[in-house]
Amino acid sequence: MFHGGYEMSKKISKIEENKVVENMVTFTINDKEHKAAPGSMLIEVTDAADIHIPRFCYHKKLTVAANCRMCLVEVEKAPKPLPACATPVMEGMKVWTKSEKALTAQKDTMEFLLINHPLDCPICDQGGECELQDLSMAFGGSTSSYQELKRVVVDKDIGELVATEMTRCIQCTRCVRFGEEVSGMRELGATGRGDRMEIGTFVEKSIDSELSGNIIDICPVGALTAKPSRYHSRSWEMLQSEGIGSHDSVGSNVRLHTFKNKLVRVIAGENEAINECWISDRDRFSYQGVYAEDRVKSPMIKKNGMWKEVDWSEALEAVANEIKDANPDAVGVLASARATLEEQYLLQKLMRGIGVNNIDHRLRQIDFHDQENTDLFPNLGMSITDIEDTDAVILIGSNVRKEQPMINHRIRKAALKGAKIYTVNPRELAFNYDVVEQCVVTPAEMVNQLILIAKASFTLSKNKIPAGLGDLLKSVRSNKNAKSIAESLANAKNAAVFVGSIAEQHPAYSTLRVLALVIAENTGAKLGFIGGAANTSGAWLAGLIPHRKEAGKPVENMGKNAAEMLNHPKKIYVLMDVELEADSDNPQQALAALNQAECVIAITPYMNKKMLANADIILPSAAYSETSGTFVNIEGTWQSFKAASKSYEDARPAWKILRVLGNHLNVKGFDYVSSRDVRDELKVLCGQSENDNKFEATGTYATHTSFDNKSLQRIGEVGEYACDSLVRRAKALQDSQPEQQKVQLNNKVIKSLGLEAALTSNSHKVQVKQGGVMVEMSMSVNDMIPDGCALIMAGTKSSGLLGSAFGEIEVNL
């Protein structure tokens, strides 16, 4: 059993933490001298020295289980071979990894492991990249002493993402330890004993973790494989390219696997400073959306209400004709924060080149009061690894676990070391670590809750309340609860205030920001912004904002922000990788704006029905993995990547489309040969900058007119798998998360609104009314939603007809 292994390894890792570098121990491996810190495991030393020892259960990021016995090595004076993964180095120790004794032990272990392993490599997805297959080539015999029947284990259905073939399992327990130690949800386990031991969830259950796909990567055999890519191709037929995850602001490194020029699989890449060796399920399985049915095949122009496929020159000519003589004030440019840095930079360069300043990527934001107070870009305020060393964290308006799973992973590590975590959110969230207190308040009350904490922090620090904040804070009396949060932050050595995506969408975002700032300043905490998309930082640097040009340079004429552009409709819209019904704060308003426009030009990989209804010219752009480019993450790391797969049909990388458009419109400086040129030009302009997010707390914030507390309020945070056009088309992810399409209310609210009947059957729907439009939706109970609120996630199909993410809403039978 591996339970003993846990205990032992915990002790060992403690020793490792106290590594004293001066007291290195000296020992020999294969008669060569090595030095290492006391307490290091043999396998760590041999791995670092490039001496290969076979292993299955050992994984550098997991505790030591020492149960596969594959890493047995000979150690002087030890009567039996010892497992290298659980043998600490000692002074004068002599180790042989390839001696007869070691090799015999390894070969015997191999024979035991193969006793019950099926010989189904030809039909196994792991074939060709299987640790067991590789090691059996090196250590396995051609015959087995075992002549009896092999055991069979019934497969488990653990959801849409991971396929199981449990007969192949060798019980290394990596997946079990991953669940306990990394994803923080122990769902897999080893039941039964002896030859009847099985890995499973015991009662059929979907693995419900945002990191579940990582068990595919760590499984050394074909027991756990990726369900969506199963049986599509063999590992040796695929080509591997480096890529960057495109669904959150972290920039996880991924490896893209292509087969016949098509992206067929994504696995985790390694980058210790960013994602270690894990990725979120969203980054892993979203690739399915690349080849969605509504990919655009060729440029298209709408004439007299009919779409016509045209060639590129005709399409680009048409675009140039539409915008070259247009009044720049009547043009609105809305682009995705998931577009590459190069695309964003060229788009704003092109549009500013013809005098247009109405440029924005902040499509879900509605409060722009203090946009001038933002650093060069809103950032984490520290490095991603620094998060592990925080000892108190307050999360403001953030569902960090679903929004930025790898940031949550670091916060979890801090929490396991004793950091105190607090939240201020419009709903209670299920965290995978202990949270000292979740302040769950309605969206409207979030500001008041922060005021209480801010007030307490002023009292505690004896700092003077800045004149600009007098109105907010003067007459407020803090409460015990808020005081204890402020105290906890102030007493911590490395406290952090993190503002998330829910706050970003909040009608009083600037107020939340200034309150977060003063709380951070008064308690000595760092301030970080953890929201945004894959390249929000890039969009700010590239100048895809109405109030600054590239690298933060001032604009001569301030443009209109995203909300203003849609609120006061423009004649012409230029959209880049944007589906406004799902990507903007207020779909109703956005679609109406597009509808009245004289011309809508869309540079997009996809064309859904709404796109076809509202656009006039469609330029097909390369989707994820089809273009080279750069993403800048929230800590300011620039990560460039090459195209991994061929562009679909006649689609082109957007930076090339923009380059040609630049030439068509005679804008200077569009003679780039590669996306590298574009990046390098911007890189020089940006230079190095220090970012701490701090600004002067003045009176530029939204005067928070409190919502009408009598009516039901919508919580419109973006669904985990609804955040962008790619993931919305990823079938397996969508199937795994049906809840995000439903209205979620707590039991009390359901009763008070008399909606119980809608719970009796799945087909029974409720009517949701917002801004004069009514939509039918399924309903589910979620007692983690506060009274007076309804959770209707943004970005989903049904919410695409509704209004603003936060606002009044009606739910009726």
Binding site: M1, E180, M185, G189, T191, F202, V203, D434
Partner: protein, 180 residues
């Protein structure tokens, strides 16, 4: 994670809870997981088997992941996970080497005939469960032997078995070893 979650429990009986509490009290706080064996035994006493519902309740009560409870419950043969095993009395005949050499096959045959069931089944009246015993019960010196509920009975003969089963049926569960 750890910590007793008494408030939400509605599935475990008071007796079971008291029993679990008394065991938790015997271990250091950070080692309360050690009381799991006893907690499952408490449930076995009441139900004679471990339902998933009860195991989940124990997990919640003790602040453990459910799978951690399933792992322990499925590892030890003294726990029954099948409702079929939920009879008043449990019979385990050792069929390992020493007992087999001393006639455990006849013992099994006799019990099967007498109760009218096969090994692994329960009598329709819910009186007896005839368990498939897999391990040596460590009483080779008294082979053939069996365990009736918690008590060992050694040097078995047909008469001895009949007397025992009759006595259990009329007098209820035997908790002490027979004196003869």
């Amino acid at each position: 994670m750890a910590g007793v979650n008494k408030k939400t429990n509605t599935i475990l009986s008071k007796h079971e809870c008291d029993d679990i509490d008394s065991w938790i009290a015997r271990f250091p706080e950070e080692r309360s997981q050690s009381a799991l064996l006893a907690a499952l035994r408490a449930v076995m006493h009441e139900d004679h088997y471990l339902s998933t519902e009860k195991m989940d309740a124990v997990a919640e009560y003790m602040g453990l992941p459910k799978i951690a409870v399933y792992e322990v419950a499925s590892f030890y043969s003294m726990y029954e996970l099948d409702k079929k095993a939920a009879a008043k009395n449990s019979i385990s005949v050792c069929t390992n080497v020493s007992c087999m050499l001393n006639g455990s096959d006849e013992v099994v045959e006799h019990i099967e005939e007498r109760l009218g069931i096969k090994m692994g089944e329960s009598t329709p009246d819910g009186q007896f469960f005839f368990k498939i015993e897999e391990e040596c019960l460590a009483a080779c010196c008294g082979a053939p032997m069996m365990q009736l509920n918690h008590v060992y009975h050694e040097n078995l003969t047909k008469e001895k078995i009949d007397a025992l089963l009759d006595s259990v049926k009329t007098n209820g569960i035997l908790h002490k070893k027979e004196t003869s």
